[in-house]
């Protein structure tokens, strides 16, 4: 399966990657070869096999651990927001959101 320009554009948009025009063909070619690699899965007989999302569930089914409902008060907003590109009065600023 080759990665045609339209597919690349659609996937890049979903992934929010603004790939420069001059790199499109190289990305397309690389993606085609990666897909050729992963297409090897198509021939494998997996009838009746359940997908395995969590590796240790291969030996026994694992279940989610639950946390007691306790709220912790010590949130350091300054520290949490110290890497933000732009802030104002405790808000993260982003280019205008249009609804």
């Amino acid at each position: 399966m080759s990665f045609d320009p339209a597919t690349l554009a659609r996937i890049a948009n979903l992934a929010r990657l603004d790939i420069p025009v001059d790199q499109l063909s190289r990305f397309g070619a690389e993606m085609s070869s990666i897909l050729a690699l992963v297409d090897q899965l198509q021939g494998v007989d997996t009838k009746g096999v359940l997908p395995l999302s969590h590796p240790l569930s291969a030996v026994s089914e694992m279940a989610l651990r639950l946390r007691p409902d306790e709220a912790c008060a010590d949130i350091d907003r300054e520290a949490n927001m110290q890497n933000a590109p732009e802030t104002e009065n405790g808000l993260f600023l982003v280019p205008k959101v249009l609804e």
């Binding site: 929010r16 990657l17 603004d18 992963v38 899965l41 359940l50 651990r65 933000a84 590109p85 205008k96």
Partner: protein, 502 residues
Amino acid sequence: MSRPQHTVAASVAALASGTVSAVELATEALARANAAADLNAFLHIDAARTLAEARDADARRQAGDAAPLLGVPVAHKDIFVTRGWRSTAGSKMLANYVSPFDATVVERLRAAGTVCVGKLNCDEFAMGSSNENSAFGPVQNPWGNAQIGARIPGGSSGGSAAAVAAGIVPATTGTDTGGSLRQPAAMTGITAIKPTYGRVSRYGMIAFASSLDQGGPMAHTAEDCAMLLDAMAGFDERDSTSLDSEKAKVSIWRAFSDIIASKRPPSLGFEGLRVGVPKEFFAEGLAADVAIRVQEAIDTFKKHGATLVDISLPRTALAIPAYYVIAPAEASSNLSRFDGMRFGHRAADFTDLNDMIAKSRAEGFGREVQRRILTGTYVLCHGYFDAYYLQAQRVRRLIAQDFQAAFQTCDLIMGPVAPTTAWKIGEKSTDPVAMYLEDIFTLGVSLAGLPGMSVPCGFDQQNLPVGLQIIGNYFDEPAMLAAAHRYQQLTDWHQQQPGGAK
């Protein structure tokens, strides 16, 4: 002053006897890091901070603190977030990122007494097998030289491997998603272990592929790895995939020591130890030098009493496509948080919100990361999800079942870590798929969540290190480490030092 074998065990002994202080060890490590700056192993060094930690360790010792690794200098892969040092994940996206909290691994190792010497270079977001995908330049393998050319240290924990191999610090942390601890350890002639998935908390590890990522130690010896892993591992309530079963609660160091102290194999010889040798690991594509060294290592086990068992892991090659669906799928989602809004790189010029996000990501991420995001996005798309993602997860179960079947007839599985020794920097960087194929022997273990080790087992004709992979069943780290330790008492491959090491 140069110490022969900068091991953790030797450092611990010297510190305990008072012949050296934490400050002295830290000062020496900083000096070596500085002298070996050409390796580009370190991304961030802060001598004042390191020395403060070392003084604290010395004070703790004065106060009677008996933490097992008190004063031992280590360094962390830059995938682990740290409060004091920048945490970049080898990416321009996080070039100036400072975490407001420490990763659990960092926290645990500090509690155990280690002193952090700095943050180590790695492939961007741990995606790569050569460390050439770092936004901050490639790392040099200390075993490279003018004669054979500059060599990759392996990846993605390339900086971690190089720092140990060059003798800068006795141990480092790394992470392994598809081989990123084992393969660089093999390529630089050191020892490393990727534990059972869930042993080491992922909290504070910048995520690549959540169902595969595992942190682990890199050091010269199996004994050092046992000490380090014991400190790193353990239940963490902040990670939902962290294990809290009875098996996981057993101390790795104590179990390892018990085996060594007991009369059970491999304490004396390897009598009773059944070593499975998968025929698929010795197939076409394996470099002749590597095959010979690995076979010699396995023969050493046999010579000292182990029984060799022919086994088959029939889906070894299928681990590559399965992994290169699952890991990118998870990565594409895990890396969505890097959107230029709350942290990380934000493009300077953009037209609107979406353009800002797309430009920030295109500028902030390197090519390999973008390829994996694209691959992952594609395989999760409506219409492809079943054929790629679910199919890969089904193959993953088959691979895990193959290992379980193999462990019916053997205790440990042994084979090569990588098909070749360290290649030249730049040699494979133009073909991503060629690089992916190098991971063939490590990916299956990652997909199954099994523990895997790399142990130095000799050199190829160019004097580049070869690694023996030891694979155990879930929670069998103590037995693996004990077998490797015994092997290291019989051999001295792990004591060899690269000519370039200071």
